[in-house]
Amino acid sequence: MITAGIDMGSKTVKVVIVKDGEIVGKHMLLAGFEAQEAAETAFAASLEAAGLTADDIEAIVATGAGRKNAPHTDRDITEVGSGAKGAHHLYPAVRTVIDVGAEEGRAIRCTEDGKVLDFALNEKCAAGAGAFTEAMSRALEVPIEELGPMSLQSQNPTPMNAQCAVFAESEVVSLLHARTPKQDIARSVHDAIASRIVSLAKKVGFEPEVVFIGGVAHNPGFVDSLERALECKVIIPEDPEFIGAYGAALAAAES
């Protein structure tokens, strides 16, 4: 069976084509102002990557914050449901899914058969983990890809309070003025966000295995902070930002 999943995230749109449980095509685009258009383009591109046409797709399920606006869909599921489904399909032993994207952090606890038991989403004051690291990389004048590796070199991290991203940004500026090495600042930023995410994980009562999905999973500095705060290793799938779309495509195969 061939199905598609469309993840209408707050910053990017991800499309995945799945054939018998395997990803055969995928594409990601910035959502921009015209998320629907971006979804159409990403859908076409992922079909092309899979060497298929729209007629080959038997069912399409949307997910993500903008899922009601996704084109061509048969139905939609929430990002909580799709994240759990995708992660569980890849790693049946998963009990906790941590999902950190541009604007939201989530912790999901699931059962042996992948059913969602409980979930926690960040509150207003701790919003925007992904967006926050981007702002920090601008403040440090470091490309976002380098922020992670840089923080791994930190020698002397200083704890900082990042309940509020706006306030934290000016704290970073103070640290820069105090000539704190960028490596240490990067590490502090990651530690602070990781601490907020781990609070969510503890709220749902996390148990291993922990699968970490969402775009921020590409940042090795953040992963390191997260693992230290969780006091356990996390599993990161090959394409962490596509797991929501993948879960949606799997859901499409069930319906």
Partner: protein, 375 residues
């Protein structure tokens, strides 16, 4: 000069465990300075105040909703992280709703052999509060006797009261040395002194205070006093913050904190009924804003402190989300400003952004200094 106090303050857990071993007595962790320590001490128990550690933490999110003050969450974190595992008991005396949650979550998720919730009345201004609290203290005394297996006699209470009153008098004497110019100690030292008093056997603390009192007059400055400030508001044991402020050209000369003057200001005045005497002390003490109604009596006390310690400016702080203080701060600032004392308001969290606060501290001190030019 204050090394011993600093050591106690920094190694609070080691001290309490060592005390436990040395004396074979029980250690009681308490959450609010309305706990009548005299009764515990009379039973041979060491009361230690539970405070936070000023580190970011991620263990309290499942237990306390984020709109409650960082202090109560920091305190609970200490318990959940097992840093107070040596405690034989925990207790709270009723005050604000925030800190109460640290107690109730600790009680459930990190149980201790003995726990106690003391219904300290909130309306301390009512004549009904004294007989009521006296009655509650009788019940409490019995509970402590059952827990420790020791009968608390009037003699025990008298001795305990004497030790506690002596501590209060000695702290007053040291505070008096801050009235002069230059003050003989910094705000940071004063804070370490009072906080250590909340953690150490008062007999030892008294001995150390006497030594300090003998030495202090020999101290010869070496430090610019700068602006004479007072600091007031919620619970505050943020020594790093005090230090930052005092490094910007100012010295704190007095305070109104429960980690400062509010803790030791009033003595127990002897009465035939010892428990009634103790009850009266806690009812008549300088109140926490949560108990300061219907009249606001604390404000006049603060104004008097500012006059007596010849204060140039006041730093008004609160723990983020501390409702009782938030409800008094506008009136308090107004009263001080009416007396010609400029105020700076800052909100404290578990950790404070030193860089950003430094800018405010420097600007405030500069502002006070500028005003002096035109006097």
């Amino acid at each position: 000069m204050f090394t011993k106090m600093t050591e106690w303050e920094q190694n609070r857990h080691e001290y309490a465990q060592e005390w436990q071993k040395r004396t074979g007595g029980k250690v009681m962790g308490y959450f609010c300075t309305y706990v009548p320590e005299e009764i515990l001490y009379a039973a041979g128990v060491l009361p230690v105040r539970i405070l936070g550690s000023h580190e970011p933490q991620d263990v309290t999110e499942p237990h306390i909703f984020g709109m409650f003050c960082p202090f109560c969450r920091d305190c609970l974190a200490q318990g959940l992280k097992g840093r107070y595992d040596y405690l034989d008991g925990i207790m709270i005396a009723q005050s604000c709703l925030h800190i109460r949650q640290a107690y109730t979550s600790w009680q459930k998720h990190h149980p201790v052999a003995f726990d106690y919730y003391l219904c300290m009345p909130q309306r301390v201004q009512s004549p009904r509060a004294l007989p009521y609290l006296t009655g509650e203290l009788e019940v409490f005394k019995t509970a402590v006797e059952e827990w420790t297996g020791k009968t608390i006699t009037d003699d025990d209470l008298d001795q305990s009261i004497a030790v506690y009153n002596e501590n209060r008098r000695l702290l007053h004497e040291v505070y008096a040395l801050r009235k002069q110019n230059p003050p003989l100690l910094t705000g940071e030292e004063a804070m370490e002194m009072v906080i250590s008093a909340q953690m150490v056997d008062k007999v030892e603390h008294n001995a150390e205070l006497k030594r300090v009192l003998a030495e202090l007059p020999k101290r010869n400055g070496g430090r610019e006093t700068g602006a004479r400030l007072m600091i007031l508001g919620s619970e505050d044991d943020d020594i790093e913050f005090i230090n930052m402020f005092e490094s910007c050209g100012a010295t704190f000369v007095t305070d109104d904190h429960c980690t400062g003057t509010r803790y030791f200001w009033n003595e127990v005045i002897p009465r035939e009924n010892r428990l009634e005497a103790i009850a009266a002390r806690y009812i008549d003490r300088v109140p926490c804003p949560s108990k300061d109604w219907e009249e606001r009596l604390r404000i006049d006390h603060i104004r008097q402190l500012a006059r007596d310690w010849n204060v140039d400016g006041a730093v008004v702080i609160q723990q983020k989300f501390c409702d009782p203080h938030e409800l008094d701060i506008p009136a308090t600032r107004q009263a001080l400003e009416d007396d010609g004392i400029r105020t700076l308001f800052l909100e404290l969290d578990v950790t404070v952004p030193i860089g950003q606060f430094k800018v405010r501290a420097e600007a405030f001190i500069e502002m006070i200094g500028d005003e002096d030019l035109f006097d």
